[in-house]
């Protein structure tokens, strides 16, 4: 076991973890941040996506020991109890959520995408999110949600779903 200090959603955490534990497992089981989902546990599905030092990564492919001194943002870090994050709201408004299992990962990726490309084309959205699988929606509504979230963030506003 080792002591790991890292910042999660803005709060310093110091927890004990085994050397073979993943970031995904300590987020869910030690910090009870269960918004981050475990789908495949091997990098294929994107359900476990978090931001590590602002960059999206698969938390199932990160060791807890590797994040000592780092900053992690999970889906819980975007919203608060009373109010959805605007990206979450766009997913709700566009009907981009069915079972919801992929949604936290999709929302984290949308966040990362819009930080670097504020007004992405459909192709840019599909390329950026190709590591996030959804078994329910067929992706059409998800692309719409990302476009809607992008439009609402632009200074001129707008962006409603069909």
């Amino acid at each position: 076991m080792r002591q790991i200090k890292f910042r999660v959603n803005g709060v310093m955490q110091s927890i004990e973890a085994a050397d073979n534990q993943t970031l995904l497992d300590i987020l869910r089981e030690r910090l009870h941040l269960t918004g981050t989902k475990k789908g495949c546990d091997e990098g294929d599905c994107g359900a476990c996506t978090v931001l590590l030092n602002k960059q999206p990564v698969n938390s199932c492919l990160v060791l807890a020991a590797e994040v000592d001194g780092c900053e992690v943002i999970t889906i819980e870090g975007l919203a608060n109890e009373e109010k959805n994050d605007p990206i979450q709201q766009a997913f709700v408004d566009c009907g981009a959520v069915q079972c919801g299992f992929c949604t936290p990962g999709m929302v984290m990726m949308t966040h990362a995408l819009l930080e670097e490309t504020p007004n992405p084309s459909e192709e840019e959205i599909r390329n950026f999110m190709e590591g996030n699988l959804c078994r329910c929606t067929g992706y059409v509504k998800i692309v719409e949600a990302v476009q809607t979230a992008a439009a609402r963030r632009l200074p001129e506003g707008g962006g409603e779903c069909d």
């Binding site: 050397d19 073979n20 990564v57 698969n58 990160v62 590797e66 950026f128 996030n132």
Partner: protein, 291 residues
Amino acid sequence: MNSFRYQKAGNISEALKWSKESQAYYLAGGTDLLGKIKTERIKPSVLIDLKKIPGLRGISFYDDRAEIGPLTTIREIEISPQVKERLPILSSASGKLGSVQVRNKATIGGNICNAAPSAETVPALLCLDTVAEIVGPTGVRQIPLDYFFIGPGQTILQNGEILRKLIVKVPPTTSRGIYHKLSVRRAMDIAFVGVAVLLEVVAGKIAHARIGLGAVAPVPMRVPQAENLLAGNFLSKELITDAAYITAQSCQPISDIRASADYRRLMVKSLIEKALWQISTTIELPGGEVK
């Protein structure tokens, strides 16, 4: 996951010392390694993290070469404006590996040292005459990447040697490079054929040619016979057909769940043709376009 210890090396000599333990593995991004540990294909006693060793990460450009630290992530290489401008074939190949999330963690050194026949960045690196600088208990050596691989998952690294630098030739601005990847699913799947072509064209004539292939032999390979055929000539329809034919003849594909050997060979031929035709449309030929 099976249990193992995790140790962060602060410098090369520490890493080399720790690597003497049986079943010690170096850890870069861990995107290959953690999958292998979870599925129990390997059982490490200790993972030696190389990420905090100073000087192993980053890209520097000099006149005619670039030096790339092996711990540089694939995503850093993909989006670097300088790599896009001066090594576009490497930027393009990097952008085809896994997903954004995987590329943020995966490193170029890990892609090479994992030594998959399909390793995404390697055909492009072979076209760029890459030299691998290796450090081990007995000192430093430099090896052309062409001689780095000895079989699927096997490299010339021994006694805990570490890949510490990649020296890449920056081609002149008159060069054109293309990387084509074929995979069963476009995203998130490894290549069953990878084809990289780099031509330097002077006054319409090919001054220098490189062809690198992935996933169609036990190791990523170059195709000197086709390169020699191309060099010194003008691109013509006949030359394109011949170069593609020779390339397809010199690869040694296998059949597996992703594709049959015959299909792979056929695709090598058509992707080489496609790449050469694409390049021909971007260069000025004395007699107009290739007929």
